[in-house]
Amino acid sequence: MAFKTPKTLILGAIIAVASVSGLAFAAGGGVHGDYKMKHPDWSFNGAFGTYDRAAAQRGYQVYREVCASCHSLKYVSFRHLGDEGAPFYLEDYPNPSDNPYVKNFAADWMIADIDSETGDEIERSGIPADYFPMPQPNEAAMRASNGGSLPPDLSSMVKARSNGADYLYNLLISYDSPKPGDVELTPGLHWNPVMEGHKIAMAAPLSEDIVTYEPVETMDHGEMKIVDAPAATVEQMAADVTHFLAWTADPKLEERKRIGMMSIIYLLILSVLLFLSYKRVWRNVKH
């Protein structure tokens, strides 16, 4: 059993990691056999992934115009849209509450509030400090307007499903995949090969040109760039809204990977220095 012991340590760690990561794939459910999942090369994948701001901006538009009527985004605030790493970040406005995009988008939404003088319930336009409002005041109202099903909150949806971004994208584009003959759908349910159980209460939300895309302005390495509007196909809108929801689920992704790279380089250099120190301390010692 005379392994080179640093190798044993790493070997043991790899075994542990491999066996544990294998378990991560052991999640239940599964896509219907006939449907082939598409795995787009998301810009945020990989060790150096970043968010495609233009896609995330278009995704916000899709959320606003299509999804927000039923789905809440309750853990995201308007000011988050202007944070560093966020789709609408502008270098000139380090405080996102001053960001003109953020202020405009916030004003777009009506927020339920109490009139501070009369105590009446009112609706006022949003300010950056507000959070995305619920489409209905409570769960019962949400169920009533959606045939008894509760549309889930989308703030962390991409993290709440294994392989979240791919799952969400494929869910949105697979509505027209052929339904097997022996599947019975009660009224109100729709066939979807990606959804757990393959029956989903949401009707296909996206259709060609349901949203009118316009060119978007984004910061790219400190410069403002204009990105042309792509065709609003179902795949394009699905990819964009997935991009946006990936950001809402993990707004710190870019910061995390950046700090991670520096930390790991630091730790690798530290390991080398400590290894050399170890060799030096032990050089004349029989062991």
């Binding site: 542990a16 544990v20 990561s21 991560a24 995201v76 790991i264 390991s271």
Partner: protein, 477 residues
């Protein structure tokens, strides 16, 4: 072995302190502690574990400043930590990934103890304290996992607290007392938070005793031969401080890879969904470090017996010093025991795998058996109606007899092909039997009959390699 203290205070202030509380003396003695010179990297996990405990406590205390233990606010407070608290995302990931790293290190540390016989006389108390630390770690981890109040948090808590209901006679009252109600709810979450904050300090106290016992008896070593002369040992500082520091740096690289690049790989996606008492997840699974015990729990049909077996799997560790009676410590010199130990590790991984899967699923399919998919269709085909009552069984059997299969396809329209093979249920039974057999049968028997191979006379002789067979097994580093 602990010997007289060699510390001589040099400064007036140090002398003053030494007369009142010899804590500097304790630190100095730790640094000069004579440790065997032949320790390998398996012995660095103790230091790594101390680091893990400190990381968990520091990150946990800061998280506790932002976390709210109320069923309506807990999930939201964790979201706030991840999104708005400066570096909250780092602290939360550090704490969650840190828990997994803590268990990874503790399993390596325990496997080291099992292989080198570190639980044998005179180290039984160190081992038992270690098992106690492990038990409290498991409790702490379980309590901590419920705090984010995701779906897995809630349902995992429901499953585990359900165990207490299995205790005969007092079970139901005991469960209600622990829960603070009839089901997992706000009272449960609040007390789980209080206990989760408390237990790490219990762990710290047990670690203090664990290290004290170790320093009294002396460190074991890979050949299991006790230190005989001063030549056998080296001062802990600088030799083992620098080696531990290197091992910690490598450990931190692995920690960092998970923390920054794979933060959710070791968790479950369902825990990003808010807890909903009305919706049970399709698969309730604990975190990976509990999976082997989860598999043992589900290896028998009886709830109470499953719980007793699961607890027994941990209790058996406590009594190990009295189960393995072989006079040779290290399995380096016990070639038969070594093979059984390798199988033990293998079956631990198998148990972990079984814990992640559904018991009814198949590990592999051996073949297909026919089963009736639509009895009404058979009745229609033979022009009869489906009988009720006692005639139904015979009718179903007649239907089954007419089924024809071609591999995994059914050639008869009212039949289906049901795969059969080794289920995870059976596999976890096999692995559980080996787990208990290893401790309760194999080790005691080997203790009586195994002939060890020749051991070196001392650590120094083994390190110098004086031609004895045992010396060849010492790593050449």
């Amino acid at each position: 072995m602990s010997g007289p203290s060699t510390y001589e205070p040099k400064y007036a202030a140090a002398k003053w302190m030494d007369q009142r509380l010899p804590i500097i003396r304790m630190g100095a003695d730790f640094m000069t502690f004579p440790s065997p010179r032949n320790l390998n990297y398996w012995y660095t996990f103790g230091g790594i574990l101390a680091l893990c405990l400190v990381v968990q406590i520091l990150s946990g205390v800061i998280l506790a400043m932002h976390y709210v233990a109320d069923v309506d606010k807990a999930f939201a407070s964790v979201q706030r930590i991840r999104r708005d608290v400066p570096f909250g995302w780092l602290l939360q990931s550090m704490h969650a990934v840190g828990a997994s790293m803590f268990f990874l290190a503790v399993y390596m540390h325990m496997f080291r103890g099992l292989y080198y016989g570190s639980y044998k006389a005179p180290r039984e108390v160190i081992w038992i304290l270690g098992c106690a630390i492990y038990l409290v770690m498991m409790a702490t981890a379980f309590l901590g996992y419920t705090l984010p109040w995701g779906q897995m948090s809630f349902w995992g808590a429901t499953v585990i607290t359900g165990f207490f209901g299995a205790v005969p006679v007092v079970g139901e009252s005991l469960q209600e007392w622990l829960l603070g109600g009839y089901s997992v709810d706000n009272a449960t979450l609040n007390r789980f938070f209080a206990l989760h904050y408390l237990l790490p300090f219990v762990i710290a106290a047990l670690v203090g005793l664990h290290v004290w016992a170790l320093h009294h008896v002396g460190q074991n070593n890979p050949i299991g031969i006790s230190e005989k002369t001063k030549e056998d040992t080296l001062s802990f500082h600088p030799f083992y401080t620098v080696k531990d520091a290197f091992a910690i740096a490598v450990f931190l690289v692995i920690f960092a890879i998970f923390l920054f690049y794979l933060p959710d790989a070791l968790g479950h996606a369902d825990n990003y969904i808010e807890a909903d008492a009305m919706k049970t997840p399709a698969h309730i699974v604990p975190e990976w470090y509990f999976l082997p015990f989860y598999a043992i729990l589900r290896a028998v049909p009886s709830k109470l017996f499953g719980i007793l077996l699961m607890l027994g799997a941990i209790v058996v560790l406590f009594i190990l010093p009295w189960l393995d009676t072989h006079k040779v410590r290290s399995m380096r010199f016990r070639p038969i025991a070594r093979w059984f130990f390798i199988f033990f590790i293998f079956f631990c991984f198998i148990l972990g795998w079984c814990g992640a899967e559904t018991p009814d699923d198949l590990v592999f399919t051996v073949g297909y058996k026919p089963m009736i998919s639509d009895l009404a269709l058979y009745a229609q085909a033979i022009g009869q109606s489906v009988p009720t009552g006692e005639a139904l069984t015979a009718f179903s059997q007649d239907a089954l007899a007419t089924c024809r299969l071609d591999g995994s396809k059914s050639l008869t329209e009212y039949c289906a092909a049901k795969p059969y093979g080794l289920s995870f249920y059976r596999l976890s039974q096999i692995a559980t039997i080996y787990y208990f057999a290893y401790f309760l049968i194999i080790l005691p028997v080997l203790g009586l009959v195994e002939k060890p191979i020749k051991r070196p006379d001392s650590i120094t002789k083994a390190v110098l390699g004086d031609g004895k067979r045992g010396a060849a097994l010492v790593p050449a580093e």
